[in-house]
């Protein structure tokens, strides 16, 4: 019998506290959005979307120097970097930067390997598709399209 009545009291009290918690939650504004029509931005800087090229604020073009370290660091070989020599330009010029996102495991080795800070994780999350080819991203083109 010991603890019989105290159990009723403490149990009943905790049940009332629980009801209080949900009642307060009911009165607070909703936190979800009606997804396909309303979208929210990713607010966490830790979010890992597929990688993207970083723009150089001075030139307005990409920061990438086409060294290819990222492609070498990638364990699943999903990055393709191609470049050419142009007259009057020092160093190589990036012509192709492709990511095969079907193989990417978002490990971040490429971002770590880049010592120019030219690639970073994007905040894209709306990336459902019907074919494999839709996930072969041309990141150079993407950078141009983003304006």
């Amino acid at each position: 019998m010991s603890g019989y009545f105290s159990e009723i009291l403490t149990g009943g009290k905790s049940l009332l506290v629980g009801l209080g918690v949900t009642f307060k939650a009911m009165l607070q504004p909703v936190v979800t959005v009606q997804y396909p029509r309303e979208k929210t931005d990713v607010t966490s800087s830790n979010y890992r979307g597929h990688i993207e090229l970083v723009r150089n604020p001075e030139t307005g073009s990409f920061k990438c120097i086409a060294c290819g370290l990222c492609a070498k660091a990638c364990p699943s070989e999903c990055i393709t970097v191609k470049s050419e020599k142009r007259e009057g330009v020092k160093g190589k010029v990036l012509t192709v930067f492709q990511l095969d996102f079907t193989k990417c495991s978002l490990c971040g080795s490429c971002v770590e390997a880049c010592n120019k800070g030219a690639i970073r994780f994007s905040q894209d999350y709306n990336i459902a598709g019907f074919t494999k080819e839709e996930f072969h991203y041309d990141l150079l083109k993407r950078l141009e399209e983003m304006g």
């Binding site: 629980g18 009801l19 009642f23 939650a25 909703v30 979800t32 009606q34």
Partner: protein, 330 residues
């Protein structure tokens, strides 16, 4: 020619009340489904149904149409007659109590002098419907759901009966109208708070509502006793559940919360229905609130609560009430 010349007024009265009651049961189920989904949303800080109609108001109608349009699947090796009978048996007994519920002083189909016993007798048929549904489905989940439900209903009917008896002892009547009239001075919840709490907890269990919804625990039993039902077969169980909730809450209102009594409005004999429904839906809100607050209890906890807490308390409450009543009368 007057309609009463070929139809006796009693029959007209019967037909009208049957139509009104059944439409009320359906309307109640619609309102409750919407309220449940909307409230569930807000308890979890979601908006709930928003897409069909303004704030999802038409969602319930669309869902209803979908259920009517669905095929009535008859799984292999089910016990055909029983399988078809069970949903009807789940639905009819919960409609019958509406006959004796006094919505206001004059809005009552029939004032039986044993109204309370009538309701209790009829509503215990619900356990039978669940058992038949679970047994005839030829499905282990259904059977387990049904077994649990029957054990639960038997355990929780005892405290309900004891508590109801206590109140009937105070009012000295079994007529629901008489019970409400006995509370014109003071509501019984003030004299019998323990009885009210016991009744409400047992009522939650009796209607198979969360946290006592072991008979349809999704995570363990798929959907429990109605796993194999589709379309209107399922909807009748569903309608039955909401009608049953309404009945349980209206008995709570009649026994403890003074029925139709409230601040007097014009045409008092009829507008009492406003106060009655207000109280019933407030209790229904608490039921929904409990569902979205508490996790499901384990089976042994369920049985412990009934046999170790509710039944002793209601028994002691009953005896004390009886003794006090004898002393007061002396």
């Amino acid at each position: 020619m007057e309609i009463t010349s070929f139809l006796p007024p009693d029959i007209i009265r019967m037909i009208v009340s049957a139509v009104v009651i059944i439409s009320f049961v359906f309307l109640n189920a619609m309102v409750m489904t919407y309220a449940e989904r909307k409230l569930a949303g807000h308890f979890q800080r979601r908006p709930g149904p928003m897409e069909v109609g303004s704030h999802g108001l038409l969602q319930v109608i669309v869902d209803g149409l979908k259920l009517i349009g669905k095929q009535l699947i008859l799984p292999k090796d089910v016990d055909r007659p029983l399988f078809r009978l069970a949903p009807l048996l789940a639905f009819i007994p919960v409609v019958l109590p509406f006959i004796v519920i006094p919505f206001s002083e004059k809005l009552q189909v029939a004032d039986l002098n044993i109204g309370l016993i009538f309701i209790l007798a009829i509503s215990s048929l619900n356990g039978m419907a669940v058992l038949i549904a679970g047994w005839s489905s030829n499905n282990k989940y259904s059977l387990f759901g049904a077994l649990r439900s029957v054990a639960q209903n038997i355990a929780y009917e005892i405290p309900i009966l004891l508590v109801v008896l206590t109140v009937a002892l105070m009012a000295n009547t079994f007529s629901l109208k008489g019970l409400v009239e006995a509370q014109s001075g003071m509501w019984f919840i003030l004299l019998q708070p323990v009885a009210f709490i016991i009744y409400f907890i047992a009522g939650l269990a009796e209607t198979n509502r969360a946290p006592f919804d072991l008979s349809e625990a999704e995570s363990e039993l798929t959907a429990g006793f109605h796993t194999e039902y589709s379309g209107m077969g399922f909807s009748l169980f569903f309608l039955g559940e909401y009608a049953n909730m309404f009945v349980v809450c209206s008995i709570a209102t009649i026994l403890f919360l003074g029925g139709w009594h409230g601040i007097p409005l014009p045409f008092l004999e009829y507008t009492g229905v406003f106060w009655f429904l207000l109280k019933v839906y407030a209790l229904l809100f608490v039921m929904i609130w409990c569902r979205w607050t508490y996790p499901r209890v384990r089976f042994d906890q369920l049985m412990n609560l009934a046999w170790k807490y509710l039944i002793p308390f209601s028994l002691v409450n009953f005896i004390i009430t009886a003794i006090v009543l004898v002393i007061v009368k002396l």
